[in-house]
């Protein structure tokens, strides 16, 4: 079985690489389709045709698109992400710190949100129909119905402006002490958790409820198992597939989808970098960011797929 899983992982990694290349090409093509190129956008309003032509030439943008794509791909093979068109700084330098920031925030959010979400999802399934279940359900849907930027702004108003407990912008804070980090991360993490938990909670609940109807759950009841035991040992293992998929999808949001949180809390993460790169048509940077998102996403869903397969013995061939 270990061998099967290893084979599975290897083949998925192979497929992931192909997907990466395809995505990178699509992203490249998409960028090419957008109006304006980096020379034009860097010059902004000052983009006279001659100025644009001159800059374009000096940036080697006159090569055919495909050649530039290949050049970038070849560079990537040798581990070189290229240099940003916009300011000629190595993409790796631009991305590195930002990626780390994003990962930090994502990690903290995961650690906070996933256990809480699973706990709420499972307990609401256990006490389905109870007042507790209804309250949590209302709250969950209520919380996600509030736009993210509103949650973020409200949090800032309350905790930073009125109470002055927390800094309004995460990055302007001292990150050297643990307390400083907690203060800086508190609001972004809460906001992100609000956004991603809902899906996990609802999906966990639905999947667990589905398995609670099965005869083996009835049998466990007849063995004298408590509800807790039944849910944890019987319902959950069979609901793992859908749950892990919901978790993976939710977490993938933490990489590229947190643009609002990064904006409101002025947190220098990779989502904003990507948006910047798109608006400046900074191809090497767009490509690198897209690769990172894609890689993150593929990693998450591959893990989800493998866990789902391992959790259902019938799927293991």
């Amino acid at each position: 079985m270990d061998q099967q899983v290893a084979y599975l992982v290897l083949s998925r990694i192979g497929v992931a690489i192909v997907t990466l290349i395809v995505v990178s090409f699509v992203v490249f093509a998409a960028t090419e389709m957008l109006p304006g190129d980096v020379a034009q956008i860097l010059l902004g309003q000052a983009a006279t045709p001659e100025a644009v032509a001159g800059l374009r030439q000096s940036m080697k943008l006159d090569d055919p698109a495909f050649v530039r794509f290949l050049r970038w791909m070849l560079g990537l093979l040798s581990g070189d992400l290229g240099r940003s068109y916009a300011n000629n700084i190595a993409v790796a330098d631009l991305v590195g710190g930002r990626l780390l920031n994003t990962l930090k925030l994502a990690l903290v959010t995961t650690v906070v949100a996933v256990p809480i979400a699973l706990l709420l999802g499972i307990t609401t399934a256990m006490y389905r129909g109870s007042a507790y279940d209804r309250t949590v359900n209302m709250l969950v849907v209520g919380v996600i119905s509030v736009p993210e930027f509103m949650i973020a702004t409200l949090a800032v108003l309350v905790f930073a402006v009125w109470l002055r407990w927390l800094p309004a912008v995460s990055f302007a804070t001292d990150l050297s002490s643990l307390w400083g980090i907690v203060r800086a991360f508190a609001m972004p993490v809460i906001t992100q958790s609000c956004v991603i938990s809902a899906q996990m909670i609802r999906m966990t609940r639905a999947a667990v409820i589905d398995t609670l109807k099965t005869p083996y759950v009835e049998m466990a009841l007849l063995k004298g198992a408590s509800w807790n035991h039944i849910v944890l040992h019987h319902a959950l293992p069979n609901a793992v597939g859908p749950i892990i998929n919901a978790v993976a999808l939710s977490l993938s949001y933490l990489l590229g989808g947190v643009i609002i949180v990064e904006t409101v809390f002025n947190y220098p993460g990779i989502a904003k970098l990507m948006v910047d790169a798109v608006s400046t048509r900074d191809l090497p940077l767009i490509q690198s960011c897209a690769m990172i998102f894609c890689l993150g996403y593929l990693t998450l869903i591959t893990i989800a797929d493998i866990v789902a397969i391992v959790s259902n013995p019938r799927l293991r061939k």
Partner: protein, 280 residues
């Protein structure tokens, strides 16, 4: 059986009080979506108040927005976008995602692999880039917006439905249907769908919420609802500056969103159940 059960004897379906309440709210908004445009006290784009973020008053029921426009009228006009676009695109995304997901689970093999990878790839393209390319290529109109939202949300629905469906697909009753020679269409609609409907509907409810909110994000890409009209999410976004003053301009659209999305989810949780005759 839960107390507060109400029976609708004629329909052959039974629904509980919460479900009825949720349904009434949704019906209300559906009616507003259709007729709201004719009921506005003021044109939705007209500046009617010299002040901005005005309070609730008899002339402006829900106060005024950042430009001094009547929020009540703007919500009425915005309803059709929020309700209509969200509804259509969520249905499109979920139907295509779920159908594809079940098909992939049933067919398996290369169809499953290829489709899964294609949708994975689609999902890993940043949606902002995607949106921009679509606007650049196809221009911006409501159908394009709906299609875009559908495409953005299909892979998620697919993934979730597939995860559920592969488990069902291993059951003996699916094998029996296969042995009968049933086609894929039958397998997915009759053997698999009824058994994954609960989670799929729950997923649909959530996606509805996301779409309602995403709409406002896409308006800023220039997609879809064009000024002076605005969907509810955009109303909240435009007026977010009024939050510190608890301006009705930001609170009322938020309440509208919450009432609709919560109702949709409650209705899904409390769908009518068909009354079957189980007598021996």
């Amino acid at each position: 059986m839960a107390p507060g059960v109400e029976t609708l004897p004629t329909s052959g379906y039974r629904i509980n009080a919460v479900g009825i309440a949720a349904f009434i709210v949704i019906l209300f908004w559906a009616l507003v979506a259709v007729f709201g445009g004719f009921l506005t006290p003021y044109p939705s784009g007209e500046i009617v108040d010299l002040d901005y973020f005005g309070p609730m008053s008899t002339s402006f029921w829900f106060g005024t927005d950042y430009l001094g426009r009547d929020i009540f009228s703007r919500i009425l006009v915005g309803t059709r976008y929020t309700v209509g676009i969200s509804f259509v695109s969520v249905c499109a995304a979920c139907i295509s995602g779920v159908v594809l997901g079940m098909t992939a689970a049933v067919m398996g093999g290369w169809f499953d692999s290829v489709l899964s990878r294609v949708l994975d790839a689609l999902n890993s393209i940043p949606s902002k880039l995607f949106g921009l390319v679509v606007v650049a290529g196809l221009g911006s109109s409501i159908p394009v917006l709906i299609a875009l939202l559908g495409v953005i949300y299909t892979p998620g629905a697919y993934r979730f439905a597939r995860a559920l469906a592969v488990n069902i697909n291993t059951m003996d009753y699916v094998t029996v249907a296969r042995a009968r020679g049933e086609g894929t269409a039958y397998l997915i609609t009759r053997e698999i769908l009824p058994n994954i409907l609960g989670p799929v509907l729950a997923d649909l409810g959530l996606r509805f919420v996301f779409v309602v909110l995403l709409l406002s994000g896409l308006s800023f890409l220039g997609l879809g609802v064009q000024p002076p009209d605005a969907d509810w999410g955009s109303l909240v976004r435009e007026n977010i500056g009024g939050l510190p003053f608890a301006a009705p301009a930001v609170l009322m659209p938020s309440l509208a969103i919450a009432s609709l999305t919560i109702s949709v989810n409650l209705l899904i949780d409390n769908l009518p159940v068909r009354i079957r005759d189980r007598s021996a």
